[in-house]
Amino acid sequence: MAEIKILAEKCTGCKKCISACPFSAITVEDKKARILSNCTFCGACVSACPFGAILLEREAREADLSSYRGVWIFAEQRNGEIMPITYELLEIGRKLADALGVELSALLFGNGLRKKAEVMLNYELDKIYLVEHPLLAYYRTGPYTRAMVDLIRQKRPEVILMGATSTGRDLAPRVATRLKTGLTADCTGLEIEKGTRNLIQTRPALGGNIMASIISPRHRPQMATVRPRVMKKARPSGNRRGEIIEVKLDFTQEDKMVEVVKFIKEEREIEDLQEAEIIVSGGRGLGKAENFSLIRKLARLLGGAVGASRAVVDAGWIPSYHQVGQTGKTVQPKLYIACGISGAIQHQVGMRNSEIIVAINKDPNAPIFDIATYGIVQDLHKFLPVLIEKLEDEKRR
C-alpha cells in the first residue's frame, strides 16, 4: 500500500497543498497539513509543496504481497444479534484458511458484544478481533470503514470475506476503495489457487446467464462479498482454541457522517420480484382470481414475493407487474414455486435460472416438470392448504 506523510518540521501550514489536491483530501489543523482518508496518492500535493514537506511512497506492488497473511471474515451483527451469514462465512473462511495454511480470524464490531464473542469461540477459528465503541453499536458506513481499514493496515490479512448483505455491500466497496484493492461482489464460489495464493472468486453475471471467475493477482487483501445462503453454515466444534483480542480505536467527527435516526422492522409483501429470494407464482390452474389468496398466504409465510403467468394477468386476476416470463420479468430467486402453471416456454425463460423450482400441477405431462427440481402431481386446491398449515406449525415451533 502506498503511504503519504507530512513532515511536521517542514510544514508551515501554507495551504498550497489544499488548493492543489483534486480530492479535497487535505486539511490544515494547528498550522500543519493533515492527509485525509480519501487520499488517492496521486502526488499532486507533493509537487505543489514549496517546502518538500510531503513524502509519498508508492506502492511496492508484487514485492510485498507475501507480507499479507491470514483469512478474515466480517462477523455481521444487527441489534446485537449475530447474523446467519456470519456462520456461512466461518465455514468457507475455515476452508480457505486451511488451504492457505493460515489463521482464520473474525472481526466483530459493536458495543457490549463480549458475550457474543465468547459464544463464537465455539467455532473453529483462531482469533476474534473485537472492537467495541458506542459508535459501532449500529451499522454506520463511516465508523465501520474506519475500524476495518485501521485493522487491515495493522494486521495485513490476505483474504477478507463479508456477506453480500445490505451491510456488507455498503461497507466492502468503501473499504476496498480506501485501500485501493480488488473486491468481487456476491460470490457463489471461492477457492484458493495453489502456488499463487490467489483467491478465485466465482459469481454470476448478466442476470445469471453466465458465470465469471475473478482474481486480484497484484493486490492484497483480496476482498469478496459472499451471497447469503449459498455456503454451508459452520457448526460449533466445542474445541475452543481461539482467543478474543480486544482492540481500542478512536473515531473522529469525520467518521461520523451519517446519523441513524430510527430503525424500523417491517413485515411486508415483497413487490420487487427481481429482488425476492423466494417467489410463489400462480397460473390458470388457480381457477379464479380469489384463489390468489392461497398464493399470497404461502408467499407471506415464506417471506417471498408473488409471481404470475401471463394467462392470469391477461385474465385480470392480478396486476401485470407480477408477470414472470418473456414479456414479464426475468427472475432468479433461490426458490420458485409454480402453482397451476403449465410451464410454456415463454414462462420458462423468465424463471428457469431459479436455484430450486417446485412445480405443483395436476397434469403429469405439464412441461413445467421438465425443469422442476421437485415435482408435485396434485390438485393445488388440496395440496396448498396442507402445505400452508404445516409451514405455520413450523413457524410456531
Binding site: P204, A212, V258, G375, F383, V386
Partner: protein
C-alpha cells in the same frame, strides 16, 4: 441545488438470456441485443428531476462508457436533465468498479460544485453495487445506499434505507451520495417534445486528456480485479417427483427446503 446523476448503459434485461459465450474465443456474444439505461439509474434520474421540480436547481447526468453511451445520456436529457457529460476514452476500457469509480470521481471533480450525487443501487449487467460507495469514498462524501424515500431540507437529507427485513431512517448533511432502489418512484417517459429537444442537444465528451487522471488508476491497468474465466452455469438436476399422500409430500418438501437452508 445541483444534482449529478451517474448512469450506465446496459444490455436490456429482457434480452439478457440471449447473451451467450462464444466457446472458441471465450468472449461474450452480445450481438443484436439492444441497450437501455440501467433501470435503477432511471429511478435516480426521476428522483433528481422531482427534487429539481420541488426545490429548483439543475440536473447533470454523467456516464462513463463507449461513444454509443451517448444514446443513454440523450434519453436522460429527454426525460428532463439539463446537461449530459460522457467520459469516453479507449484507455478507460476494461475498468473494474475501482477504476470506474475513480474515473467518475475525476469527472465530478471537473464538473465542480454540487449538492447531491445519485446513482441506481446497482447495474443489472454487473450487479455489483460497488460503484456508488466507491465513488463516495473517492469524493469523501457521506453515502446512503438502498434508498427508497428521500426528504430534503436546505442543508440536510433524510432517507429511508432498505435492509433485508426492515428499513432505517438516516440523516446526513449535504453534499452526499445516495443510491436508490426501484421502490423510490416510477420513472417518467420522455415527452415527444423532450425527445425532439434532446436530439439536438450537445453532449459534452471528456477524454482522459480533459481529466487530471493518474494513468495507473484507470482502465485495465487501474483495475485490481481480473476476469480469468467465463462460463455458462450448469443447470441443476431436475425432475424429482415427490410421491405419496398429500401430508407426506408436504413433509418431504419442507424437509428438502430445510436441507437447502431455504427455511
Amino acid at each position: 441545488m445541483h444534482i449529478i446523476v451517474c448512469i450506465k448503459q446496459v444490455p436490456d434485461t429482457e434480452e439478457l438470456s440471449k447473451v451467450r459465450i462464444n466457446s472458441r474465443t471465450n468472449t461474450l456474444v452480445r450481438e443484436g441485443i439492444k441497450s437501455i439505461i440501467n433501470p435503477f439509474d432511471e429511478n435516480a434520474i426521476e428522483e433528481a428531476l422531482r427534487i429539481k421540480e420541488r426545490h429548483g436547481g439543475k440536473v447533470t447526468v454523467l456516464s462513463m462508457g463507449p461513444p454509443q453511451a451517448e444514446e443513454a445520456l440523450r434519453r436522460a436529457l429527454a426525460m428532463g436533465a439539463d446537461k449530459a457529460i460522457l467520459l469516453s476514452d479507449r484507455s478507460f476500457a476494461g475498468s473494474d468498479t475501482l477504476a470506474t469509480s475513480y474515473t467518475l470521481a475525476m469527472g465530478i471533480r471537473k464538473i465542480g460544485e454540487f449538492d447531491l450525487v445519485l446513482l441506481g443501487k446497482q447495474a443489472i449487467d454487473g450487479d455489483t453495487a460497488q460503484v456508488g460507495p466507491g465513488l463516495a469514498e473517492w469524493l469523501n462524501l457521506p453515502q446512503i445506499t438502498y434508498v427508497r424515500r428521500i426528504e430534503l431540507s436546505s442543508s440536510k437529507i433524510k432517507a429511508e434505507r432498505s435492509l433485508e427485513d426492515s428499513f432505517e431512517i438516516v440523516e446526513t448533511n449535504l453534499p452526499a451520495l445516495l443510491t436508490v432502489t426501484k421502490e423510490i418512484n416510477t420513472p417518467r417517459y420522455p415527452s415527444l417534445r423532450g425527445l425532439l429537444k434532446a436530439k439536438k442537444e450537445k453532449i459534452t465528451v471528456w477524454t482522459s486528456k480533459d481529466l487530471a487522471l493518474d494513468k495507473e488508476r484507470i482502465g485495465l491497468d487501474g483495475s485490481p480485479t481480473q476476469v480469468v474465466k467465463i462460463f455458462t452455469p450448469e443447470s441443476p438436476k431436475r425432475g424429482k417427483i415427490l410421491t405419496g399422500e398429500i401430508p407426506e409430500i408436504a413433509d418431504k418438501l419442507i424437509s428438502e427446503m430445510k436441507k437447502r437452508k431455504i427455511i
